[in-house]
C-alpha cells in the first residue's frame, strides 16, 4: 500500500469542523470517489471531528491518500489528548451519549466507512482512525 499524500490540520473549534468537511471532500474528490462515497466519508469525518472538539477538547486530524493496486482510499486519523473514553463498547452503542447529542456519532461513522479503529486511554486521549476505499 502506498501513501500518496499526508496532511495535518488543527481541530479546535466548530469552524474547524466545517474546514475538516471541506478538506476531506477535496481529498475524496481528488482520489476519484463517487458522489455517494464522498458524502459518506465527509459525514463520518464531521461526526468524529465534532467528538474531537466537544469531548476531546480539540486535537488534530491527519488526512492520508492511499493507493492499493487499483483501489484508492482516504484514511483519516483524529487524535486528541482529552479525558479519553472509559467504556468504548458503551460509546460505540447507538443512542449512547454523555453529551446532548443523538449518540449516533461513533456508531454511525463506523457504518459509513470500510475501516474503523478507536483507541482511548482514560486521562490521556482518544485516537479514531477511519478509512474508505473506492
Amino acid at each position: 500500500m502506498q501513501i500518496e499524500s499526508d496532511d495535518r490540520m488543527p481541530l479546535r473549534t466548530s469552524d474547524d469542523v466545517v474546514r475538516v468537511r471541506q478538506a476531506v471532500r477535496a481529498r475524496a474528490v481528488a482520489s476519484g470517489f463517487s458522489l455517494v462515497d464522498q458524502t459518506k466519508i465527509v459525514t463520518a469525518a464531521s461526526e468524529i471531528a465534532r467528538n474531537t472538539v466537544d469531548y476531546g477538547g480539540g486535537g488534530e486530524l491527519r488526512i492520508e491518500a492511499l493507493r492499493n493496486g487499483q483501489r484508492r482510499g482516504v484514511r483519516l486519523t483524529f487524535s486528541d489528548s482529552g479525558p479519553g473514553i472509559r467504556d468504548i463498547d458503551q460509546a460505540m452503542r447507538d443512542g449512547y451519549t454523555t453529551g446532548n447529542g443523538l449518540g449516533l456519532g461513533l456508531s454511525g461513522a463506523k457504518r459509513l466507512c470500510n475501516e474503523f479503529d478507536i483507541k482511548s486511554t482514560a486521562g490521556s486521549g482518544t485516537t479514531v482512525t477511519i478509512a474508505r476505499w473506492t
Binding site: V17, L35, V36, T39, S46, G101, L102, G105, S107
Partner: protein, 129 residues
Amino acid sequence: MAEIPILRIGDCLLVSIQVDMHDRLALALQDDLTQRIVADRARGVMIDISALEIVDSFIGRMLNNIAAMSKVLDAVTVVVGMRPAVAITLVELGLGLTGVRTALNVDKGLALIRRIIDNPERDDADRER
C-alpha cells in the same frame, strides 16, 4: 456570524440553507425560527436543504427539533430538496428523521403544507398508516 434569512410567504416561513452549517449557526436558526413562527403566526415552515452537501447527526437533530417545536406551536415543518447522496448517507448513519415531513422540491413542499393545514385530521391518519 452570518445569519440564515427567513422569508415569509403568506402564512408560511421559508428557509433556504445555502451555507455550510457550523453548529452554532444551526442552533441560532433553531431559535430564530421558533421566534418567527410565533411573531408571524406562521402555520407552515419549509426548509430547503438542496444546497447542503451533507446532513450529519447534528444538522439532523436540528431538523428534528425544528419540526417538534413548530408542531407544539401549531405549525407544520416540511424539509425539501434533499440530495440523493445525502438521503443514502443519512439512512446508513442511522438517522431516520422520523419526525420530519419531506417533499422533493419547494412546489411540492408548499402543496403538502397547504394540504396539512387545510386538513389536519387526515394528516394524522396518514402518518399512523
